[in-house]
């Protein structure tokens, strides 16, 4: 007999594959994008949108919705594909990604696309806004939760640590931060560039609960992200691989904003099933 959680995991895994395929198609068609980060964050997005977030695409501004912020706003390949799969807009619109006058801008705009909560793109903006959302929820003793995904390289932006301090100080138990810890930033590894480690200790020192997880293990992600928080903000360090799912992209720094050629595109489509 199949349990409801097995069914949910099957759904999440199926959606993750669909999102990866859409994102690669979008980047291939646009000849632009950030496929490496799209692939690393996909399982996190699929788990959130198909297993955790309480929201209704038909009523995207419901005051009681859960809030999700993609602070690494350059990974719109994965974000738009996830929003479309979740029903916020038609899948066919993904073909317009980054085309002139498309709503599907290279970085997300909340005034164009329902489901986007705040415009991101410049790094280090998502967490402060998410902290503000969580404070509003805390003031109202509201049931809704706030989730925010940051890239790991992005944590070099100081604004994150201003926000981290405030969240720890205020005990924002309704806030969950997920670090897409793929280890690579645009030009090199994070540790070669400006090291983040010991990353878990940093968050603990700021008053956060820290959980480390395989960021491609949907079952573990579902359990962790689905659990309601305590009286502390929660940092989930999701260990991921940049380019996950496409053999030649995995852990390769060059695929941060690389664009596959026709042969590479076909290989990716064969692998992402």
């Amino acid at each position: 007999m199949t349990s409801s959680s097995d069914f949910q995991l099957d759904l999440i895994r199926g959606k993750a594959t669909a999102v990866r395929r859409h994102a690669i198609e979008m980047v291939y068609r646009a000849k632009l994008g950030h496929p490496g980060g799209d692939m690393s964050v996909t399982d996190i997005l699929a788990t959130l949108y198909f297993g955790v977030l309480k929201l209704d695409p038909a009523n995207p501004s419901d005051p009681l919705r859960d809030r999700f912020v993609l602070s690494k706003g350059h990974c719109t390949g994965a974000l738009y594909a996830t929003l479309a799969e979740r029903g916020f807009f038609d899948l066919s619109e993904l073909e317009t990604y980054m085309q002139p006058l498309s709503r599907l801008n290279g970085h997300p705009n909340r005034n164009y696309v329902a489901g986007v909560e705040t415009n991101t793109g410049p790094l280090g903006h998502g967490l402060p806004v998410a902290v503000g959302m969580a404070i509003a929820g805390q003031m109202d003793k509201a049931p809704w939760r706030v989730f925010v995904v940051v890239g790991d390289g992005e944590l070099q932006e100081g604004s994150n640590w201003e926000a981290a301090m405030a969240a720890g100080h205020r005990g924002l138990g309704n806030l969950t931060l997920i670090v897409d810890r793929n280890g690579l930033q645009q030009g090199a590894s994070t540790e070669q560039t400006n090291s983040l480690e010991p990353l878990a200790d940093k968050w603990r020192a700021f008053g956060w609960e820290v959980i480390e997880v395989d960021g491609h293990d949907q079952s573990a992600l579902l359990k962790i992200l689905g659990a309601v928080g305590t009286d502390r903000p929660r940092c989930v360090i999701a260990h991921t691989h940049k380019g996950k799912g496409v053999s030649y992209m995995e852990d390769q720094v060059g695929w941060h904003h690389g664009v596959p050629n026709t042969e590479q595109f076909e290989i990716a489509m064969q692998e992402l099933v």
């Binding site: 809030r67 903006h125 509003a136 604004s159 405030a166």
Partner: protein, 319 residues
Amino acid sequence: MATALSTDLHDCRTAYSETLEALAETDERIVAVVNDSVGSSKLGGFGKRFPERLVNVGIAEQNMVGVGAGLANGGKVPFVSGAACFLSARALEQVKADLAYSNTNVKLCGMSSGVAYGELGPTHHSIEDMGWFRLLTNLTIIVPSDRWETREAIKAAVSNEGPMFIRVSRMPVPDLGRPDGSKFRIGVSEELRAGNDAAIIACGTMVSRALEAAQVMAAEGIDVRVINMATVNPLDHDAVLAAAGTGAVVTVEEHSVRGGLGGAVAEVLSTERPCHMRILGFEGFQPTGTAEFLLERAGLTAEGIAGAVRAVMAARDGK
């Protein structure tokens, strides 16, 4: 209609905080966000009455503005208050992306703008803020001239959706003595004194000085129009074009001569109705000194403004 200036002077921050407190009494959405600036924003009373609605993020302006955007997303009407110099410069990208580009309902209140912190030097002078913010097309910029206008601007900020910057001075200014029933409207300027020989367009702390300058010139038989341009963005185009009808326009602001009110007026006049014009304000970083010393040095006094009006009239008349 000529207004009568009061002889007593007032710090507009008090009008700001009293109004916010009164509005917060009936509107639970109103919250204040500060960067350890409770005292300098005069929000001690607000904090006593509504402790859970005063969010002090500490000395962290980027987070302060981001938190403001998040609070707005959660249904609040946040008044994000801090010294104008830090609020504008330190958090500029947050103001651009999280407020203006995202079009969020956040009210930025820049305290002690201009050269209010005169002796502390250019790090603490805020004479660039309007230049930076005016580039963000949908960010409304309001520069109240006295207590009444500060109160009205705060009320308008609550009743009008969208991102807004309100520039609140700590330099004591007189009440302009408007007639009962006067109305404040965002984007609509106010003709405080009629006149067709020349026009002064002023904002904030400079409005009362512009009125004094016009009084001086009236004694010389020259009728100078005085326009209070409290909303610098969006600018009241019609009033600016009408002012150009005098052929001699002077703008006055407690701000850099670049990018502020004068820049905004010049953009309109140079393309739509060129005329002789002078922009009064500060050129570059200012030395140390009291606010009054720095204003005098830059010619931002009734005498200085009157001198600029005479000069621009002479240029117009080919003298």
